[in-house]
């Protein structure tokens, strides 16, 4: 009899506990992870990174975590970024989301992040040896293929191609160029020169003028990122060579969209920055919660032309609210 009474007592206590706890359980989930986001740059004109950060912020709200953005005001200096990485490590976050400035020179810092027991997610641009836990980026090789296929169509007769790259040491540039070359296939030989412009529109501008001078029969210029694309477009516009030389650009700042409409760009290949930012935070949270995440996540790219720019999804991609 006594045992039965005790069992009942325990049962009843369990019921009361269950009810009171079941309310509390829902709130337990995310334990307030802290994540530091290190993009390549934070500046008002860079729509790409601003959108990435916007996506990340949206995910921050969704998953109720702490997110801090640390970045230089100008793209292009790996030293500056390394400094920032060190500072970030000292803050002891649960995870760092990083867009690596230099394929080789950022690598030791990336290793340092891992050595400190912090989860590392790479967004957009990576480092050699794939030190990161997860890589979230546009498949730049694939983007390059798209560009290359387009260029192939544009190449009539024996026209030549010049490439305006932002850096020989950034993975994004390297992969895009590689994609273009592979897509061109047997026509790869038409690429007469690949110029290094840094992330500097003015440099790209100068290089464009140089390229036009140095190579006759130049029919297509491929620009591999926002800054180089803008520089090339401005130059072509100023030189009045819109009909002669087709520009296959990258990214979609406002200025670039204008150029697309004007016909200066034959096409621009755009990425999915909002999605990239959002997913990087989402995957970071899932990784910290112990889930198994795929090593490479492709956020995709789209080739936009004047014809298809206002159509359906393209409009949304091109003109995020």
């Amino acid at each position: 009899m006594k045992i039965l009474k005790k069992v009942l007592l325990i049962l009843m206590i369990a019921v009361v506990l269950y009810i009171s706890l079941s309310r509390g359980v829902e709130l337990k989930q995310n334990k307030n992870f802290s994540i530091i986001f290190i993009p390549k740059v934070v500046e008002p004109n860079n729509d790409f990174w601003n959108l990435v950060i916007e996506g990340a912020s949206e995910a921050k709200i969704e998953y109720e975590i702490k997110l801090e953005v640390m970045a230089p005001e100008k793209e292009g200096s790996y030293e500056k970024q390394n400094e920032i990485i060190l500072e970030a490590i000292s803050k002891r976050p649960d995870a760092i989301i990083l867009a690596a400035e230099d394929y080789e020179k950022t690598a030791p810092l990336a290793q340092k992040i891992k050595d400190n027991g912090i989860k590392l997610l790479i967004v957009d641009a990576g480092v050699k040896d794939q030190i990161e836990d997860v890589m979230i980026a546009t498949n730049n090789f694939e983007a390059g293929i798209k560009m290359g296929s387009r260029i192939k169509k544009l190449l009539v007769d024996d026209g030549t191609v010049a490439i305006m790259s932002h850096s020989k040491m950034t993975s994004t540039a390297m992969q895009r160029e590689s994609g273009i070359r592979v897509a061109l296939n047997d026509r790869e030989g038409r690429i007469v020169e690949s110029y290094e412009c840094g992330s500097d529109s003015d440099k790209a501008y100068e290089n464009t003028i140089k390229a036009v001078k140095e190579h006759e029969n130049l029919k297509v210029i491929a620009a591999l990122n926002q800054y180089t694309s803008i520089g090339v477009a401005r130059a072509i516009k100023d030189l009045n060579l819109v009909d002669q030389i087709k520009v296959v650009g990258f990214d979609n700042s406002k200025e670039q969209i204008k150029y697309l409409e004007e016909g200066i760009y034959d096409s621009i290949t755009i990425q999915n920055p909002f999605y990239m930012g959002y997913i990087s935070v989402e995957k970071a949270v899932k990784l910290l919660q112990g889930e198994v995440i795929e090593k490479n996540i492709n956020t995709g790219s789209t080739l936009i032309t004047k014809e298809n720019m206002y159509i359906g999804m393209n409009q949304r991609l091109l003109f995020p609210f």
Binding site: M1, L9, E261, G263, Y278, Y310, Q315, R316, F319, F321
Partner: protein
Amino acid sequence: MSMIFTYFSLKLTKQTTLENSIKYMKELTEQMNYSIESYIKYMENISHMLNQNADVRNYLMLDAGTTEQKLAKKRVTEQIATTLNIREDIRNIAVIGINGRILLNNGVTINPYMNVREQSWYKKALDQKEGFAISTSHVQNIVEYEYPWVVTLSSAIQDKGGTSNIGVLLVDLNYKVIEDLCKRIELEDKGYIFIIDEAGNLVYHPNQKMIYSGLKTELITDVVKSKESYFITTKDNEEYLYTIAKSERTGWRAVGVVKTKALLTYSTIARNAYMVTISMLLVIAISLSIHLSKKITEPIRILEEAMKKSELGDFEAAEIEIVEKNEIGTLGKTFNNMNQKIHQLIKEKILAEKLKRKSELKALHAQINPHFLYNTLESIVWMSEGGKNKEVVKMTSELAKLLRQSISNGLELIPLYQEINYAKSYLSIQKMRYRDQLNYEIEVDPAIENVQIIKLIIQPLIENAIYHGIKNKETEGNILIKGYEKDEKIILEVEDDGIGMSEETRAHIFEEKETNLKKNGVGVYNVYSRLKLHYGQKAEMFCESELGKGTCMKITIVKEQEGEKA
């Protein structure tokens, strides 16, 4: 009982709550729909004003460059500017003539790379002839270098007669307006409202960036297909309520989405309240029963145990403490009394038995062999007649000693030496009678001389040895009396070399027999039973005998420890 009650009450509550919630959400969505509709209507009225404006017609129709046309143009421009000024929610206003004339906002340049006639809002307006065409949210690129998100209201401008189209009026509404309208409604727990147009395109959605990026999906198809004004569906393990309100005017649908869980807060609260109440009732019930058991069941059990103990004879342990003032307590008291009485009775009985034993012992003690008395007295007479005065004196004094001892002051225990003296007296008397026929020796360890033993245990054995062992022997007989300590026991032996006894006799020697009593009066049996009565297990008696050889009687008594009572 309460569980069943709760279950049904909760079910009812949930049902009612859900119905009320659906009603509430529907009203909310209708309200949103109405707001948007009103707003659009309001915009249409503004457009209408411009549309019907004579100046607009003149501007479009009159020959270019004439004063009238220029004036008309000026006035239209002013009106557009004023309207734009006053209403922040209007992004663009344009008058577009079929003939190619265009007035846009404050006179800004039209985007040269855009073909107005290709635009869907333009085409729709012309197709519709009457009324307004409303677009879904889209990017408007009519103004050079600008790419705002707007909702476009377009309508055909007609000539005075109203028969043919002469142009299109464009009014772009800031997308932000719709956004603000929808955001105004606050819904619990991430509930929201979104708007789709007739075709199912998203006009507004709070998570539109996520949807366009493919990060989230919305059940737009379900909404479009739904014939009812609401439905409940499950997505990602959560149940959602969708309420739909359609505007006939615009073809738009306002959709309210909310988690049913959030709606059922009241029933959840009720459920929790019920469960807490039940749990508390259970607690009370259980503690009540525990309390009751303490008051009743437990005391009964204690009583039961005490009775068992009493039954087994453990009267002191059976005593119970009475705490209760109730019927159980009374039972307990009665039991205690009974227990004590029994205990008392048994004590008395034991006492009585003891007394009885004592008197029995005493009675036994008094039995000295009468034959021995007679014979000794006759011997004295005979010796006296023979003039043997010394022997007479000796025998008489020894006899006196014997008698004194046997009638003595009733002490049960005497020191061993006294018992030996008694035996000596007896033996000396018997020696005087049997002379050479009887020899005896006494070997007693002086160390045990003072040990207390019961009296009259050695003499009867000696008597037995003489009458049964030696008297009928042809030759002389010897008796050896030994006393020593061994293994914590006092050993007393009476050994003779008389005629001995048969095995059968020996085996039954310690039994009470009529024949024995008649012959000896006291005898072996007497000694044996007195030993047992007094010492119980602590004394033993042994008889060894062999026909023709002799007999040995042995008494062993466990030596008393200090402080023990016999």
